[in-house]
Structure formats: C-alpha cells, structure tokens
Symmetry: C2
Subunit: 647 residues, 2 copies
C-alpha cells in the first residue's frame, strides 16, 4: 500500500484499517466497520459458529477464505468429541470452509503457515487471532457470532482503537527470546494495558526478529487486552513465506517513515533479561532471578505463545545428551503438523525423547486445560500465554509463564533457574530455509454444487442455539453474583477437560458457569430467573469464547454492571442481548451488594438513546453503538437479524 | 534348564513351573504356589498396590525386580492424576521399586525391552502381563493384592493349569502378521478357550517369528482367558536381547524334544488370511474379506497387542507418500519411548505425519478408554487386544480388532479392506539390529537407607483401603443384579476417562460400578447392604483390575453366583472376601431371579470344609483352596494377614 494521497504520513495499523473501512470514522472510541478477508474458527468456538451459520440460513461463506481448526478439544474422552468433528466437517463441506482435522495443530501457527497473507484482515473466534499480526495482517479475535456474521459477508464492527507504537531497538542477548519481550510489555503495562489499543511494533530491532518470533509477541497482545497487534511485512516475513513455498503471497507493508502514534513506548531488547509471570495472571511478571530456586514438578513447552520450530529446537539442544530432572515431567506439545515433521527430521524429537521428555499430540492441550493438569500447589512452568487461576484444570494450581529457555532450564535442574546460570553455550538455532509444508491433511472447501448436497451431521450431543427474548422496559433484578477485578472468561465459563466436551450444548454447559468462583451460581441463577451480575475492572478478560455470554444469558442474566469490560466479552454480551453497564463513578461498586435487588425502569428508551440509567441511586452508562443498541433491544443479534428479515 | 533327571520329557511350561514351585502339586486343578522373581504394576492398579504394601507394613520388596509403569491414566484432566504420580513415585522410592514415569510407555513392551529375562517368573497387576511369555518367562496377570503379596516375598498361588501345546508350522504369507495368528486362535476357541490353561507355542514356524511377534501372540492369550502363554527362548529371543544391549540376559529354554501336552492344537501359518474381530468381543473373529466395505471413521495403531517397531513401520511404509482417507482419523500411539525414538530415527514419524496421521503420546490411551473415543455407531479399527462394549469410552461403540496391515488399509480407503486387495507391494520391514535402548528416564530403586527416609506423598485424592468384616455364618441376600455370559471387568468397574482418575479412591469410584449394565446398581446396592449378584459363564473376563472386586464389596457385595468365573477376577473376589459360587447345575441360573432374596445358612462351615451350599433349593459349589477359604472367612486377604499377625 503506497502512502495515501492528500493526507499526512500514516502508521501501518491506520493503513490496514483504512484499506478495509466500510463504515464509521477512524476516530478512537467510535465504532467502525471493517471488510473481512479471512475467518478463523476452532472447535471450542466453532460448533456454535456453525449453528449460527445454520440459523442465519447461509449458503456459502463470503470471505476470501475461512478455516476451521480442531485443536482444543482433543482428549476425546467420550463420543461427544468425535460427534463434534463429524458435525464440524460436514458444516465445513456445506458452507465452503477449510477443515483442519485433529492432528494438524494449533490454529494460529497453522493458519500462519498455510493461509496468512500480509495486508489481509481476519476475524477469528479465538482471542489469540491477533497472532497473525506477525505477518502484517489486521487480525482480530472476537466472539463466534461476529465471525459467523463476517463469514456471511457482514462487516466486523469494532471500537476504533488508539494506535500504540512500540519501538524496538537493540538485539536480544543470549538466553533471552521473543517471549521475554512480550513479558516485559506485560510487566510494564499489566493485563489491561492494551485495552482499546492496537500495538504496532516498529524500529530498528525488527530485522532481528523472525516472523515466528513476532508471532510470539503478537499472540500475547491478547494478554494486554489489545484489539490486536501488527508488525510490518518485510524481509523476515518474506523469508517465512518463502520457506513455506508461498513467496508469491508476500506484500511489503510498513508504516510511513514519519508516521505518528497515539501512544508511544520503546523496548531496548539488549537490556532485557529472562522474565517469568508468577501464578495467577500473565501480568505478574518478575525477573526469573527473583523466583530462582522454587522447586518445579512440571514443564510444558508449546501453545500458540511459543509455537515456532525455534522454540522447540532450543529446548532440544539444551537437553541433548542430558537428562530431565527426575522430579520433573517435561511435556512437549508440538504446535503443528509441520513443526512435528520438522522436529522429527532435524533429530530434535530423538534428542527430546532420549532426554526423558514426554511428547504429546499436536494441539492446545494443557493451555486450554485439556490434560496436563498439575498437582495442587506444585509449580508448573509453561511457555503458554495464560495462567489464570484454575485454567490448568487444577483448582489450586501454581502455573508460571516463561520462555522455552527458562522452561528447559527448570526441566534440567528441577527448580526455577535463570538459563544464563546453567553455564551452557547458547544454542545457535535458526529456522531452516525450507520447511515441511504439509497441505494434504488440510481439507479444502467443496465446489458449491457438491456443498449444497451436504447435510449437517448432528448427533444428539449437538445442541441448538437458545431462544432469546427482547429486553423488557422494566426489570427487577437480584444481584446473583458480585465479583472483583480481572475476572476472566475462563472463570465465567470454564473450558478444560470437564466442560469443553459440552461446548456444543448450552444447556449441558450451564452447570459449569462460574464454577471456580461460586459453584452455586447456576442453581441460584436458574432459580432467580432474570438477574444481574456486578463486576470490577476488566470484566471478561481472556479467551474469546462467546459461551461466557450465552450460558449466563441462558441462565437468566440480563445485565452486567462493571467498572470496565474486556473488549471481546463486552461485544459478546451485546451479541447475546445482555446489557453491559459501567459505573459512572467506580466508587459506587461498593454500594451494590450481592443479594440486593435492583429496579431498572425505562430501560428500552435509555438503551435506544444512550442516556444514563439509574438503579437504586447508582448512575450507570453503556457504551453501545447504535448497531449494538438494536441487538440488545431485540434480545441479541440473531433475533434482531431474524426480526429484520420478517419485518 | 536341563532335562530333569529321573522323569520323562517335560514341556517348557512344566519346566518353568517346577523350577519355581514352592507349594502344591503340579496336577491340573490343584492350587500351586510359585516363587516370583519379578513384579509389574501399572498406574491404574498400582496406587491400590502401594496402599496394600503400606497396609502390610512392608519395608522393601523381596522380588529380584519390581517395576511401576505409568501408562494408563495419561489424560491428566485434573489434579488427581499428577497426585497419583507423586504418590506412586514416592512409594517406589520407599519400597525399592523401579519407577517408569509417564512418557516411557506401555508396561509390557517396556518391561520386555529393559527387564524381561528368559526363565524368570513374573506376577503383574495387569491381565496382559502374559505378554512376557514372548521371552520364555512365566508371567501371570493377577489382582493387585496378589502382586503386593508377591512383592512381600509370598508365593503366587494359582490353579495348576493344563498345558496346551500349539504347534506352529509354515510361514506367514504377505499381508498376514502375528495378530492374525492370535485372532485365528480366538476364532477357533473363543474368549474362554484358554481358561485354566497355559498356551505353549512350539513347532518349526517359531523361527520365523521375532520376539516382538511373539509378544503380540502371548499378549492376547489373555483374551482366551489363559493363565499365561509361553514361547521358547531361542535365537529370536537372543536377537531381541542383543539389540537391547542385553545379550547377557539370554538363556536358552525349550520343551524337551519329545515332551507332551495336556491338549494339542496346530496352526499352519501359511494358510492364514487377514482376520478381524467384529465389535463387542475379541472372540467375534471373521476373515477381513467378510467385513470388507464397511465405512471406517477411525483407525488406531498401538497398544500392548501390537507394540513392536515392525507394527508401526509397516503402517508407515503403507502410508508413505500417500494420504489418509479424509473421512478417517488415523491415530498412532507409540508404545514405548524406545519405539518412538526408533520411529523418529527411521523417518517413519515423518512419513506418518506427512500422510495425515495423528501422533499421540506413548501409552495405552484408547485401549483403556483414555481418550480416542469413537462416535456412536461409527466403525473404529484398532490394533488393540479388546473391544468389549463401551471400553472405548463410547456407549454404543463399534470397535473392531485387527492387524496393523488391515488397520492401515482402512486408513487409506476409508472402509474395511483386505490389505491384499490394495495392490501394493508388501513392505519388507525388519527390526533393526540395534535399537534405541533409553534407560535414563527409568528411575531405579533407592538404596535402602535413603528409601527408609522417604515419606509417601499422599494428596487428599489418594484414598485408603476399605475395612472388610468377616463372612457371617448366615446371610439373607437380595439379588441386586443378574447378568448374562462373558461380563467383563470393564463392565463391572469401568476404566476410561471418567472413572480412571478415581482409581486411588474406592468410595469415589463406587458410583461408576456396573454403569454400562445398570446405572442404578451403586445406589440400589448401597441401599440393600449385604447382597448377591448372579452371573453367567466366564464372569469377570478381561482386565485384572481388583477394583472390580473391591468396589462392589465396598457397596455390600458378599456372594457372586455364576455359571463360571474368569481366573483373575475369581481370585480377586476371594482376595477381598467375596464368596464366588458356581451352579452345580447351570440350568439353575434361570431359577434365580433379580430382586429375589436368598437365604444362606451355615456358610462358614460350608466354606471351611468345601461342602456344597444350598440356597432356595439351588445347589452351589465353590472351588476355593484352603488358603482362599481362610481369606474369605476373614473377610479378605488383608484382614486375614492382620488377624494372623495379632493372633
């Protein structure tokens, strides 16, 4: 994209947005509509998306490309799991979607390897969709229904974010890698430091970071709450695409030389040291040295946060001809079919196996709480993006996040160890010039005539979308639950091995809602009927799962009142007709007690006009766009679309 | 072992028995006591064994070697699983047991690779322990408590079996392999054809079967209900041990040239064709040709029934440069760390990954219902030993058992296919001369002084053994459940992803008992208190899990009346004080209705003297040895030992 005529220099995020803008103005805080080129879904969100496509009566997806990955729900403990696969595959065939069956790997690196194209927009029903920013894409994680609408040719609506330029200088020292860069940003800014922002990386250090390094950094922009992250598309991106046999997909993309940013930050890579996030939050970042000596029982390498061949090779080289400490279970989760093949070809699998590592199937696995649950209170070091309490599958877990180097150091010593203290030579690991691009097991869309003959394969375990009624004008709502700051969607609607197999069935899933915070919520919510929840700051951070909106709504949730909302969950609430209100004065949080009853009157008009709402003397506001107001009034986006059709 | 002086020629089984005989006479049907050289446990049975060792107050195991493998319960969905690992590892350290952590692989091939020694006896808390017969061991699968007693230096008591000589002639044709040999025996003899027998293989075809081929055949002797299977220790065994770097462990062992057998059979390998067991039982064997064309959705290669490098290499070669049919999920479960390393080194992993296979962690996995559950009614072809209904984790499953060749053929075509019909050249696959013997990750026993300082690591999820009261003299027992023939321990006490995580906790496990047959059993049993179950033929076939005795006993089971019992479960019932009675006249099975009440009087004297028992006019017998009578009277083996100590 050449510099736009007749206006000043623009940054890359602005270029990508303006090239896809189909509605709204590019003013921070305003709702804009974006034309979407690609769509990404995974199995934990995909079954609901397919039910939504069915409810919308779609004939064929209208994005240039849509892909369904099976990477989350892989333990396959009973018949539900394979029933999901059969359903997803049939829906892919019906609607013109690529189907990536279990075994192909985690959606983000796999999409990057085979489908990512610089300059394209992507809507993904997974919060780490932003990882594609590594290739110069504008890739945004949203709720499943928004992806379904994008697949149906509708624009993706987001709040125009501020563009946050992060200038990278210097060069990473030995034993420090890309993960430490994003941990440094989390250390500085915390888990809501990126809310309503796009993080755009620039500066002289970019040339030292491979496309996969950038994936590590872009991926965990989600942990800062950012709308997305973007990197320029340069020589490093060309190298990556060339190794995949896709040099032809390369486009040169960068900010104009003298472009400005709404916010600025700078990281000198030379000054970084190995970092680690303490248990409980990706924002609890400290130098590894501060935690050194803590005994470790499990180390897991993999996930979309460290998915690259380099990340595994560095571990393999550190372990080659050595032994994993006998107290440690070292678990390797290859992130994609290609990575696994290249690890086997390079001899890394052999080195890891000989050292005592446990090699798992490709996929998300422990990152989403599908297996690999640690023992209570025993330290588990993981190269994952998230360590929200209980996400591992263990109630009182102790999960730390770190780089592959720091993970491997702990695997060797049985304790948290700064890898610089090992006295080893830093492995000189570089991605190979050509990689094992394995396209055979990716199942392409069917031609439309054949597609139209495909019937959806729906086992009994595949549920249906709940019916949603319009917003009443007056509501008396008991506050069934009151929670604190930074409650994640993992806490609202747990994933993990117990709940994830029910992802296609809202009614069955309902029993798990808020299970980690208050097990009595589902029963009390059902008994209460229409009810409210009160939350603190950054309510609904983390995973994009729309189940965290649908399930409580199914149980009667009509209003959430919080100090602030995480972006994706805020959208999901609107999509499913739950009114998200913010305190005009955060101090009023203390005035709303669990168990109290709130009376809300004149709701419909207040929502429609955007005026403030008073409940028991507490002043509340919503930030809904006119588009979102209509869907909340209708009870949700699907009933709104339906009523529009029948009008 | 030279031919014994002063008696006629003896077969190999007789030699192995007489070399270890410490009690009883070698007359079929009599109880004999055997000195045990080695002990094997796995995690699904091991936690209970460790609790038993603790209850027995053991200081250190007295077998030459004992090994604990973690291979069953690998999904690790919550904290219980790793808590089990910590407990097992601490108990291994305390009692002088080798600890094989998760990632090392399935117990039977791993034990064979590192510890198996021709001529040794082994007691194993796993029904497929008999696989070690491939090396000329006398290896018997029994309940956990019997292994605990053997570890404590006690003899293993078994009913002296008849020795069944199976003469092998000819040579396997292309596309037919060891699995087809044992499927042929199952086709002829059914799932109880081996009860109270040792299957001893001999004949000119032995030289054509590698030690690992013999493992395939010996392993599935369990499916015939055999006490065990034995092969001679010859050049093929030497080759195997030599490849492991253990040629020094080789001992030449064979039947005397003119030895006789109690029973005889012969299989001409040249005449075999690819066989397959239809869903429901390993005994439902038909030629693959008869089932050809059935659509297939899943193919799984692995398990102790096809654990060898050859078994995976033949699949890899069939798939090399081809693609798995898009309808099929081809799943590869490497059986041991060594096999995985050799598959990686040979390029087979790469070939499999490129063809679209899904590579899983090493272990039992789907074979024990830990993941890989198929969709309802969709055909799944597996190289596993068992396909009892529901064992896969799916209630209405459709699981077939076959060779790797037949499995790979279905993976290529998407339908059951005789591999001879593919038109491919039969891959010339041979085990390498040297293999990747990887001993580092096997954790050896601690020296005794250090061992004595080890405390058992017991999380809350580790339960304790139930208290067991003596057998009353009179009982009024409602028949809470009446079942048909061939009920397996999988049906009595399901394993699988739901139940297996509770294996260390009898009270928690109780809710799953008989879940597939009658979900109301646990509640009704608990309400009834002391109660009886009526069964058909071969009651308790399959897995050795003693939980299938302990859990119903915990729920009040005192008497099982059946037409006949499978060997291991019959022993487990006695070990936990449940009286196993057989109908004097099988026709009386029809006279005992579910719900009826049975009055049994003078029970203690009848058990003590071995006399018949009459209940409501039905004549019943037990086959308990004097040793077993004492434990049933005491309420079980542990209370018996305890009362002996305190007497």
């Amino acid at each position: 994209m050449a510099r736009a005529e007749g206006r000043g220099p623009v940054n890359l995020a602005q270029k990508l947005i303006s090239a896809h803008l189909v509605g709204g103005e590019m003013r921070p805080g305003e709702e804009i509509g974006l034309r979407i080129d690609q769509a990404l879904i995974q199995d934990a969100t995909g079954t609901m998306v397919m039910l939504e496509l069915e409810a919308l009566g779609l004939d064929r997806v209208r994005t240039e490309l849509a892909a369904q990955y099976v990477d989350h729900n892989l333990l396959q403990s009973d018949e539900r799991n394979m029933a999901d696969h059969l359903f997803l595959r049939s829906a892919c065939q019906r609607y013109g979607i690529w189907y990536s069956p279990p075994g192909n790997g985690v959606s983000h690196p796999t999409h990057m390897q085979y489908f990512g194209v610089p300059g394209k927009t992507m809507a993904g029903a997974d919060s780490h969709t932003c990882a594609a920013g590594s290739l110069g894409m504008l890739a945004i994680g949203v709720g499943g229904l928004e992806v379904a609408m994008a697949m149906a040719g509708q624009p993706l609506y987001v709040t125009m974010p501020r563009i946050w330029g992060v200038r990278l200088t210097g060069e990473l020292p030995d034993w420090v890698s890309a993960k430490d860069v994003i941990l440094e940003l989390l250390r500085r800014q915390g888990v809501s430091g990126g809310v309503h922002k796009i993080i755009e990386y620039h500066g002289p250090a970019l040339g030292t970071l491979s496309a996969m390094d950038r994936h590590v950094i872009a991926n965990m922009g989600a942990e800062l709450g950012a709308t997305t992250s973007v990197f320029p598309s340069d020589e490093r991106v060309l190298e990556f695409l060339d190794a995949q046999g896709r040099a032809g997909d390369h486009v040169e993309l960068a900010a104009d030389p003298d472009a400005g940013y709404d916010l600025q930050d700078e990281i000198d890579l030379s000054a970084l040291e190995p970092l680690i996030a303490r248990p409980g939050s990706p924002g609890n970042v400290v130098p590894v040295l501060e935690a050194a000596g803590e005994p470790v029982h499990q180390v897991v390498v993999g996930s979309s946060a460290n998915p690259g061949l380099r990340d595994f090779l560095v571990v393999a080289e550190m372990l080659r001809a050595r032994q994993v400490h006998p107290q440690v279970s070292l678990e390797i989760n290859p992130t994609s079919r290609q990575i696994l093949a290249d690890l086997a070809k390079s001899g890394a699998i052999t080195a890891l196996v000989e050292a005592g590592a446990r090699i798992h199937q490709t996929g998300c696995l422990g990152c989403i709480g599908m297996g690999q649950a640690p023992a209570v209170g025993r330290n588990s070091l993981r190269t994952f993006p998230r360590n929200f309490p209980g996400r591992s599958g263990t109630r009182d877990d102790s999960v730390w996040l770190c780089s592959p180097e720091t993970a491997a150091a702990a695997a060797l010593t049985g304790a948290i160890t700064d890898p610089r203290a090992l006295g080893l030579e830093y492995p000189d690991v570089r991605p190979p010039r050509t990689v094992s691009a394995i396209t055979g097991p990716l199942q392409p869309p069917l031609p439309i005539e054949r597609a139209r003959q495909v019937a959806l394969v729906k086992a009994d375990s595949i549920g249906s979308l709940p019916e949603l009624d319009p917003l009443p004008d007056s509501l008396t709502l008991p506050i069934v639950l009151k929670v604190g700051d930074d409650v994640s969607t993992d806490e609202i609607m747990p994933a993990g091995a117990r709940a994830l197999p029910y992802r296609s069935n809202i009614a069955a899933l309902a029993g798990f809602a808020f299970g980690q915070i208050d097990e009595t919520y589902p029963e009390r919510a059902r008994a209460a009927g229409p009810h409210a929840i009160v939350g603190g700051r950054n309510y609904g951070q983390g995973s994009s799962r729309e189940h965290a909106a649908i399930v409580p709504r199914h149980l009667g949730l009509r209003v959430v009142i919080a100090k602030s909302f995480a972006r994706i969950h805020w959208q999901n609430l609107a999509n499913f007709g739950v009114l998200a209100l913010e305190f005009a004065d955060e101090a009023d949080y203390d005035r709303l007690a669990a168990g109290a009853e709130l009376r809300l009157d004149g709701l419909r008009e207040a929502v429609e006009t955007g005026s403030e709402i008073t409940a028991d003397g507490v002043l509340l506001r919503h930030r809904l766009s006119p588009r979102q107001r209509a869907m909340v009034l209708a009870g949700g986006w699907i009933p709104q679309v339906r009523s529009a059709v029948h009008r």
